[in-house]
Amino acid sequence: MTAVSDRRQLAYIASQAADARVNVELETEGMTLNIGPQHPATHGTLRIVARLDGEQVVSADPICGYMHRGYEKLTEVRSFPQVTTLVNRIDWLGSFANEVPFILAAEKLMGIEAPPRAQYIRTILFELSRIANVSLFLGDMGVQLGALTAVFYAFRDREYVLNQIEAATGGRFHPNFDRIGGLKDDLPKGWIAETRACMDKMRTFCDLMEDLLVGNEIFAERTRGIGVIPRDVALSYGLSGANLRASGVDFDLRRDQRLPMAWDKAEWKVWTHPDGDSFARYWVRLQEVRESTRIVDQLLDSLPSGPVMAKVPRIIKVPEGEAWVSTENPLGEMGYYVVSKGDTGPFRVKIRSASFNNIAVASWVLKGTFVPDVITILASLYFILGDIDR
């Protein structure tokens, strides 16, 4: 070893050390970002703890429970009619739809059925709740992506539906209208004609959303291929509603089970989309709102006359037994497992809410996406906090 090569060796080692220092300084480490619980994008207090590498999500963990109200415990100290008030507030945008499966489960245990007119009106109000709920989603998806104008049109046109619900039930958001054996009241005079006009307006609104958002190239670029959930993953997580149908599964509880409601009295179509991405979820919901308006129109045309309440005793004691009823709610499959011991109130009510399963898939689908896509995917999965947290 000559002196020259010693110096060269020293120089080489020194440069390696310098490189190592630079590499250590430049090495990126993951950043943990808390999306929520207070955030404009999450519809309420949902918190997603995301580990980011630059702008890419390495892992995402949804944390819910900021709005947990303990509904299942609360139902145990209430009587059956009182549970309806409680249950309105689970999915607060389309709240009539929350009451229906519970009332149907109680009626199943009692062995009674509501009269035909009540079944028709229940279905009509159910579909109006769906329209009110999902039309907000149609506008809100635009807001999450940056198109601020869409949601104002949604709020404006949704008011017509809420006016109809208020005219019939007395409450825009929490109707509390369903009773065991039928409904609280009959429809007011002139309601049918007004609702028909309202359905026309909602169809115009759907066309507007289609032009404004679905036809927009930027919307397509932001949603197509984003957050693809394949069929088997969707079924395994228990996704339901439009999320499931957007992954190509042809399953709709309104068509695929026999319930004492009037869905089989109208001609309507189940919409599916094979892609399973965010665009598919938006598109399926858009078509479903249109389809709901058609269902409401047909049922209004064929509304039978008669009483709206069956003969039930004043103090309702539901006989012993267990019953499960689930319906195709605006957010997905919502079901109640009601256990009764022959008392005036339920023994145990298990509330199966759609958004709980819909958000469980977030930890799977958000891996490897970019932060803006996190917002898109969460917006397209569409959850309501009250539904997740109960």
């Binding site: 145990e76 100290v77 228990g238 695929d256 026999r258 004043r314 011991k341 399963n357």
Partner: protein, 214 residues
């Protein structure tokens, strides 16, 4: 009930087929069933066959759709409905544990529902959970959605799911003690202030219409 001959109960081939296939797969893992023809099916599974039942439901019965998983506490609540008059001594209440459909042998029972979107049928599976040490196998490897449902069931009932990757609180804060949905866990709102519906009933303004429900 009519006095003439009762109509023959309708047969439900679809659901009876499910029971038969499940029995063939699990043998005596199927302890009991309760079938309401044309309506619904309950199957009680032996505790140690719970995971095999989940796999059988998914693979043999084709029930890929996971609906929910929860539990029931069959102990009648010692607090009643929180309507006790606080000035009176608490009334006598039966604490007999009576299970529901498809029977049972323990206070806590796990309850799960899975369905097939192709056959458009679903069934409810139940299993006993030992009273002294509530444990049962996890379904999170069979149905991905079971992960969150089992976390909630553990949090609310205290049933430990063996093999669950991440059993931690989902709704309640981490330091929460107790299992709220158990019947002996009191509903604090009613403990603090009992429901006044019985004790103090004010007359309705303008006279009441033959009295409200008590």
């Amino acid at each position: 009930m009519s006095s003439t001959e009762a109509p023959a109960p309708p047969t439900d081939e679809l659901r009876e087929g499910l029971v038969a296939r499940l029995r063939a797969e699990l043998g005596d893992g199927v302890v009991d069933t309760h079938l309401v023809p044309g309506d619904d099916l309950w199957v009680r599974i032996r505790t140690d066959a719970w995971q095999a039942a989940g796999t059988a439901a998914r693979d043999v019965l084709g029930c890929e759709y996971f609906c929910f998983l929860s539990a029931i506490d069959w102990l009648p609540s010692p607090y009643g409905k929180g309507e006790d008059d606080p000035t009176e001594p608490p009334p006598e209440r039966s604490s007999a544990i009576v299970q529901g459909y498809a029977g049972g042998g323990s206070r806590l029972q796990v309850l799960a529902r899975v369905g097939s979107v192709r056959a458009k049928v679903a069934l409810t599976l139940k299993a006993d959970v030992a009273d002294d040490e509530p444990r049962i196998a996890t379904w999170s490897g069979i149905y991905a959605g079971a992960n969150w449902h089992e976390r909630e069931t553990w949090e609310m009932f205290g049933i430990v799911f063996d093999g669950h990757p991440d059993l931690r609180h989902i709704y309640l804060p981490t330091e929460f003690e107790g299992h709220p949905l158990r019947k002996d866990f009191p509903l604090l709102a009613r403990m603090v202030k009992p429901w006044p519906g019985i004790v103090d009933v004010e007359p309705l303004p303008g006279g009441d219409d033959a009295g409200e429900a008590e």
